[in-house]
């Protein structure tokens, strides 16, 4: 108990813990508990029927798969964007920096319509891809594009501040000790950035799994092919089947929770390694 009572800037450990618990319950736990309660108004047989239906299984594959791919793309390119924004000075940097946040601010339906306009067979980009046999809009690839778009800021904004903290001198020191570029990146930069990269990846993934607004415009919503799980949830709601909708939501939540937990563990491990 002593260690918890270290003097801190914000007084009243008990009070602030109480507040934190209350706030978390209000914002997160209570709605989630209500969701679980609704899902389990179904009998077990009904629950499994709903969540293991072939159409539902196909939608998990697409939703989770596209979210993972999107988050991975963001991991690589988000890192590069963050790197450029921190390490280089160029004309218009402030504007590019502000642009990164746009996917946060844009209503998702607008994003979806804009992306579809670009990637549809007659669209600005689509017209060049179609002759090559690449179908983006109304295909699973379109889902990946939309999920990549909405997830980009998460990686950039988590990596950026950490990168800013990393002084250039460390790299210089590494170089003067004989490390080549690859070594410096792998041994010096990467371990320091890994926790931030993982956080960005996790946020980008979690955001993508639940995304509805932008995806329904670009995916085409064909059953078994381009139907994401949130769309199936909406079709259940259209039948006033609230419990069925909640059951699918529970599956998504559990999947996401497991993945986020794994990422957290990974982070913990990498922190410990970096610390030791």
């Amino acid at each position: 108990m002593r260690s918890l009572r270290k003097p801190s800037v914000i007084p009243g450990f008990g009070l602030s813990l109480g507040f934190a618990a209350f706030y978390a319950s209000l914002i997160v736990f209570i709605p989630l508990a209500a969701l679980f309660a609704k899902a389990f108004t179904l009998t077990w047989a009904q629950f499994w029927d709903t969540v293991l239906h072939p159409q539902a299984l196909a939608s998990y594959r697409l939703s989770l798969g596209a979210a993972l791919i999107g988050a991975s793309i963001n991991l690589v390119f988000g890192f590069i964007v963050a790197w450029v924004l921190v390490r280089y000075n160029f004309f218009g940097k402030k504007i590019v920096d502000a642009l990164v946040d746009l996917p946060f601010a844009l209503p998702t339906a607008v994003a979806g319509i804009a992306l579809t306009t670009l990637y549809a067979p007659q669209g600005w980009i689509g017209q060049w891809l179609t002759p090559l046999g690449i179908k983006v809009a109304y295909a699973p690839l379109g889902v990946v594009v939309a999920l990549t778009f909405i997830g980009l800021p998460f990686v950039v904004r988590t990596v950026q501040p950490v990168l800013e903290e990393l002084e250039k001198e460390i790299e210089e020191a590494a170089a003067s000790l004989g490390a080549n570029r690859w070594h410096t990146f792998r041994r010096i930069l990467f371990p320091a950035l890994l926790p931030a990269l993982l956080t960005g990846f996790a946020l980008s993934f979690a955001r993508a799994v639940g995304e509805y607004g932008s995806v329904v415009f670009i995916s085409g919503n064909m059953p078994f092919k381009t139907e994401i799980t949130p769309l199936l949830i909406v079709t259940k709601l259209e039948q006033y089947n609230y419990a069925g909708a909640a059951a699918l939501a529970v599956v998504l939540l559990v999947f996401s929770f497991i993945l986020l937990l794994l990422i957290n563990l990974l982070q913990h491990w990498s922190n410990k390694r970096a610390g030791g």
């Binding site: 329904v216 919503n221 079709t235 709601l237 039948q239």
Partner: protein, 329 residues
């Protein structure tokens, strides 16, 4: 202090008498219709009852709007795309009595519409009727009937045509399955499909409510599309009702009922006609006969035994629509 409280309560009472508020929760394409109608009704109410009425409108997908009301949106009246969504106000929350649809004339639908085929200028694929839609190489744009109330009318119209032409439910099922094989994109709502067809130029024919087809012409310019009226279609009846539980709480029953009744008046019917809904009133309908071509129309009740039955058989999970997309069929 007492005098102040008294004064306050008196002033609220007198305010309540001089002004009343209504919330009409409607679906997407009625925005223009009700903007005009609300103004007309406010004038009418001011003249006859000497009371100011302020009407707010809310628009969105029909099913989503119904769920908002079930979850507590205090709508005084709802004006939705299909009876199934209003039925839910009774089924899920008992906000209205079971017999709500018999309380107003014409199944509580003061105006109607039907499903028409919108094709590209000059009708390059020569589409005349429903059976042209199943031909190979014809792409059909229609929203997903699982998420769009409007799209359910499209599906049922096609079904009714096939059943009449080929004589059995079995054949109708094959026809509809064939038709949906020609659908490259299932947008989640009618507005999404409109964009797909009109803006992205995908597809040869777009299944649309008649009133929306006219709106498309207005929005994207006449001369880009043609409207083809099929030999047989469905009578789309978007119904209206007072939400009893809410008007009792808000004390607005009288004005809410008058509001809906005014939809059936000459003036209300005229506004419906102007906004491309087919008026019920024979006199007003005659005036708009040039705009709305004659077409054989079947009804949900006669052909499909009502919305509850149609929904369960065709659109609920495990229904006929799902079977069309089962892998391996």
């Amino acid at each position: 202090m007492l005098a102040l409280t008294l004064g306050l309560s008196v002033s609220t009472v007198s305010l309540a008498q001089s002004e009343v508020k209504l919330l009409n929760v409607s679906y997407d394409p009625t925005r223009e219709l009700y903007t005009e109608f609300n103004k007309a009704f406010a004038d009418h109410w001011q003249k006859t009852e000497k009371q100011k009425v302020t009407i707010s409108q809310s628009h969105g997908g029909s099913g989503k709007q119904a769920r908002s009301v079930i979850d507590g949106l205090a709508a005084d009246v709802v004006t939705l795309a299909l009876a199934y969504d209003i039925d839910a106000l009774y089924e899920e929350a008992k906000l209205i009595p079971e017999n709500w649809q018999s309380r107003l004339p014409n199944n509580s639908a003061p105006y109607t519409s039907t499903i028409v085929l919108v094709v590209r200028k000059g009708n390059p694929k020569n589409i005349k009727d429903w059976d042209d839609l199943v031909k190979p190489g014809v792409q059909v744009i229609t929203p997903n009937p699982k998420t769009s109330g409007g799209a359910r009318w499209n599906y049922l119209a096609a079904w009714a045509f096939a059943k009449k032409k080929y004589g059995s439910d079995e054949k109708a099922r094959e026809f509809v399955a064939q038709l949906y094989k020609n659908v490259p994109v299932l947008d989640s709502g009618a507005r999404g499909s409109t964009t797909t067809f009109a803006q992205r130029e995908i597809g040869d024919v777009f299944l649309s409510w008649e009133n929306e087809a006219f709106l498309i012409e207005k929005e994207f310019g006449a001369g880009k599309f043609d409207i083809v009226v099929p030999s047989l279609s469905i009578l789309a009846e978007p119904p209206v009702t007072v939400v009893d539980k809410n008007v009792e709480k808000n004390g607005t029953r009288k004005v809410a009922e008058a509001y809906l009744k005014f939809l059936y008046s000459k003036e209300g019917q005229e506004i419906a006609g102007k906004n491309f809904y087919r008026p019920r009133d024979p006199e007003v309908a005659a005036k708009y006969a040039k705009v709305f071509p004659q077409v054989e129309l079947i009804t949900i009740d006669a052909e499909f035994g009502g919305w509850q039955k149609a929904q369960k058989e065709h659109f609920n999970d495990g229904g006929v629509f799902d079977a069309i997309y089962k892998p391996g069929t």
